[in-house]
């Protein structure tokens, strides 16, 4: 029982690792692609590499393959990845934030009455 349970837990952990690896690799592919139309074939090739090992059953082999994939991902990781502007590391991060509520900007600089 505990053997089966631990097997299932290990499989679930492996599936999560694969999903996250695929997600990171796909984002990285988009960062490497200079144009959007160059990204699509690259993404298809990436997907094919993942799908090629879809039916591997042996848990140790899967572990080795994931480790191999992660090391390849780390090797080819983009040095300057695209980051959404507002996110930490993005070009707009903490720039010109919203003023706190209660602060009002007067645009006509005290000349309202004239």
């Amino acid at each position: 029982m505990s053997g089966a349970a631990s097997y299932l837990m290990r499989r679930a952990a492996q599936k999560e690792r694969v999903r996250i690896l695929y997600r990171r690799a796909l984002k990285d592919t988009l960062t490497w692609a200079v144009h959007r139309h160059l990204f699509y074939p690259d993404a298809d090739a990436l997907r094919e590499r993942f799908d090629a090992n879809k039916n591997v059953e042996d848990i140790e082999t899967i572990d080795r393959m994931i480790a191999d994939g992660e090391s390849q991902y780390n090797k080819w990781r983009h040095p300057d990845p695209y980051i959404v502007p507002w996110a930490p590391g993005g070009s707009k991060f903490t720039r010109n934030p919203e003023p706190p509520s209660g602060i009002e900007i007067v645009y006509d600089y005290g000349r309202e009455d004239h």
Binding site: I20, R23, L26, I83, E98
Partner: protein
Amino acid sequence: MASALRAAILGHVRVPVVVANGSKLLAPLWTHRTTAVRSMSSHDDHLEKNQVIDRILDIVKSFPKVDPSKVTPEVHFQKDLGLDSLDNVEIIMAIEEEFKLEIPDKEADKIDSCALAIEYVYNHPMAS
């Protein structure tokens, strides 16, 4: 010579910049905005729930492996649409691009249905 020519031309030519950039195109997009709009602010967008639902359903429907007639706001990507986990990752990435979001990996991994995606995007302060 050149500067005199330039001054002469500039003295006569008037380019109607403001008229050309009229609000006809932008008007439908801007009508839903609330009063506290600061145009230079890093974020001043506010999404309504039905906008979020429409845009997410559009994304899911245009995914190549999905049958568009099956897509509803409550649909589960893997159980109802017959996708696998990697397709799920692709859909979440498309949603991130559509709404200009950056979802952390662990959270993106948890989103597996339209309902969860709509909830997440609608409650995200930076969705636009």
